[in-house]
């Protein structure tokens, strides 16, 4: 992690080429240096932050009053830092019988911010409360509702429940950071006395990093895949040399336990939807043996989406994995105990994250935790099936190789699609797709759950989502279309995105057929589509012309139009359920 002084240099550079994002900061203590750290960390992550800092300690007015400076600024993200210190002051001045209402009052305020209609399209990043053990009751505080310890813990728990209900509220886990560092490393009384800063300079980069982790995740920049070396990463020793009896893995005392715990962490990641792959220099059979037979393996072959064990280089194996998964290298994390392998991958694969694992395996987990690699802005129940979906895809690819004629292959899949609007059941998945899709995405607009809900409730918007199932399995919801009226006759395609897992199945044709049918049903004559280029979506630059749209002359951006009267249904082998 860079120091604050190193980060500050970013602010002297010309960052005008970087995408701009508006961030406001409101706090009840001195937050200028935190603001500096956030802006500088923004540059690290590739953003030029247009920053507004609210006047010292006017959090309530700035957030709730519609014509405050903060609201005039109209930020995309509002970072709110109400400190444990000021909360503690408030607590000490309350009469005893009101102390037990502290958490409820604070939650009431945060809830009023999150449900304020003026702020509904903004993301609120709210710091939770690191504890200050004032030892007024000792451990007995756990039995006393009015104690500060009790109220802070209650408040942090209630914040979690509030964040579950309010999709535009994101809790930045400052309490977790203090767990890692300890209060003595986060707070310096001499500095606080003179400046009212509650965060030490040394810890500001970490705090700013956690804020940016959330912001980047909302913007679609996050890790999707973990690629693992095997020997001395997933188990102790070298399977080829030590054999099943010789590798270190297991319970009880010794290093084997640490590898087991590492595997347990990877298992949790897989269950939450991170794609787990293996890239190992070993014979495939030898490498797979522990997964199949070792009693202390936590990970099984079912947990691995792509298993590359051979004598190719790690670089080549990672490229192969990328080709199969069709996700960016910058959404991958690669773990290997060997510094030489790590350097080779860093040098040859742009954008991939390669943590500098510590020398001793017992230190791996705490180090990996500290990197906060897997921040996300969405999570749906269906995420746990992601690995299975990639495994099933591998089966489809095998089948396709047995057909000489693509049409026959597609027919053989027996594909079926369910078309629906946006409902409370599919909103999380739709928002998630809008945040994750980079390649097949015509305009790359990122939506949160709250945004999608608003679109669902808008009677003028035509919202469509599509699933795709075939004889191998169900891909779930894989395409989203949002159309908005430009005038009485014309619909504009605000969003058309599709998961890369279902390319080349004819889904594009099925989707357009459905869009035209809906549009004609509502009395429209034509549909306009737009392509907004990004570094990742060049695959759809000719999407509209390929579907029979004609270019619109003289438009500022690339736009095409299709006449609905003249439209002929396009061929596909997908039927509507």
């Amino acid at each position: 992690m860079k120091t604050l002084q190193e980060l500050k240099r970013n602010l002297k550079k010309d960052n005008s080429e970087l995408p701009s994002i508006k961030v406001a900061l409101a706090g009840d203590t001195a937050t200028q240096l935190l603001g500096v750290a956030i802006r500088a960390m923004g540059v690290e992550r590739g953003y030029n932050i247009d920053f507004f800092e609210a006047e010292f300690s006017q959090v309530e007015q700035q957030l709730l009053s519609p014509d405050s400076d903060l609201n005039q600024f109209d930020a995309d993200f509002i970072v709110v830092f109400q400190s444990s210190h000021k909360l503690g002051e408030k607590h000490s001045l309350l009469p005893v019988e009101r102390k037990e209402l502290l958490a409820d009052e604070r939650i009431g305020f945060v809830a009023s911010v999150c449900t304020n209609p003026n702020l509904s399209n903004k993301k609120i990043i709210y710091f939770n409360y690191p504890e200050i053990g004032d030892t007024v009751f000792g451990s007995y505080a756990n039995k006393v509702e009015s104690s500060f310890t009790y109220q802070v813990r209650k408040l942090n728990f209630e914040l979690m429940k509030l964040a579950e209900r309010c999709p535009n509220l994101f809790i930045c886990d400052l309490a977790e950071l203090q767990n890692k560092f300890g209060r003595d490393n986060m707070f310096a009384p001499n500095t606080y006395a003179n400046t009212e800063m509650v965060l030490k300079m040394d810890v500001l980069p970490y705090v700013a990093s956690r804020v940016m982790d959330i912001l980047c995740a909302v913007k679609g920049q996050f890790k999707k895949c973990l690629i693992l070396d095997l020997d001395n990463t997933v188990w102790g020793g070298v399977i080829g040399d030590d054999g099943m009896e010789g590798i270190q893995l297991g319970h009880g005392l010794g290093i084997g336990k640490m590898f087991t715990e590492f595997q347990m962490w990877v298992k949790k990641l897989k269950q939450r939807g991170i794609i787990i792959c293996v890239a190992s220099k070993n014979n495939e059979e030898t490498a797979k043996e522990p997964f199949e037979k070792h009693p202390d393996m936590v990970l099984s072959l079912d947990d691995i989406a792509v298993f590359q064990a051979n004598w190719e280089t790690k670089v080549d194996n990672i490229r192969t994995i990328q080709g199969i998964l069709n996700i960016g290298f910058d959404s991958m994390v690669f773990l290997d105990d060997n510094p030489f392998e790590r350097n080779m991958v860093r040098e040859n694969i742009p954008g991939i994250t390669v943590p500098e694992l510590p020398e001793y395996p017992e230190d791996y987990l705490e180090y990996l935790y500290s990197l906060n690699l897997f921040e996300t802005a969405s999570y749906s129940n269906l995420d746990k099936d992601r690995t299975k979906q990639y495994q099933v895809e591998a089966q489809r690819v095998s089948l396709s190789k047995t057909f000489t004629n693509e049409a026959d292959f597609l027919k053989s899949l027996n594909m079926v699609s369910v078309v629906s609007g946006f409902t409370k059941f599919n909103i999380p998945r739709i928002a998630q797709l809008s945040q994750r899709s980079n390649q097949f995405n015509l305009r790359t607009i990122r939506y949160t759950d709250a945004d999608i809900e608003a679109l669902a409730n808008d009677p003028n918007v035509i919202d469509l989502c599509f699933t795709l199932e075939d004889k191998f399995g169900d891909n779930g919801l894989i395409a989203v279309v949002i159309m908005k009226p430009l005038d009485k006759e014309t619909l504009f395609v605000d969003t058309w995105l599709m998961s890369c897992r279902v390319l080349k199945r004819g889904m594009e044709n099925f989707t357009l057929n459905t869009m035209v049918e809906r549009a004609k049903g509502k009395g429209y004559n034509c549909i306009v589509g737009e392509y907004l280029p990004t570094p990742k979506n060049s695959m759809v630059s000719e999407h509209y012309p390929q579907l029979g749209f004609t270019p619109i002359e003289g438009s500022d951006t690339k736009q095409w139009v299709i006449d609905l009267e003249k439209y002929k249904e396009r061929e596909c082998f997908i039927i509507k359920k």
Partner: protein, 81 residues
Amino acid sequence: MERKEIFEKLTDIFRGVMDNDEIILEENTTAEDIEEWDSLTHVQLIESIENVFGIKFSAKEMSSWDDMSEFVDSIMSKLKN
């Protein structure tokens, strides 16, 4: 540590925090003499100096020195202990 060495280390720290390689520190240098020396950079200086020298300043001391010579006196007496 010799006074000269302390001045050298401090010059490095000042130049780093204020991002100005032309800063020169003398015994009678005060905050007025250095444009970038304000309350925000002061707090960063203090924390950097505490880290580099392995010492701790009290809240009172942090705001007490009138010029560099008093500042360095304070650092030297802490290093002796």
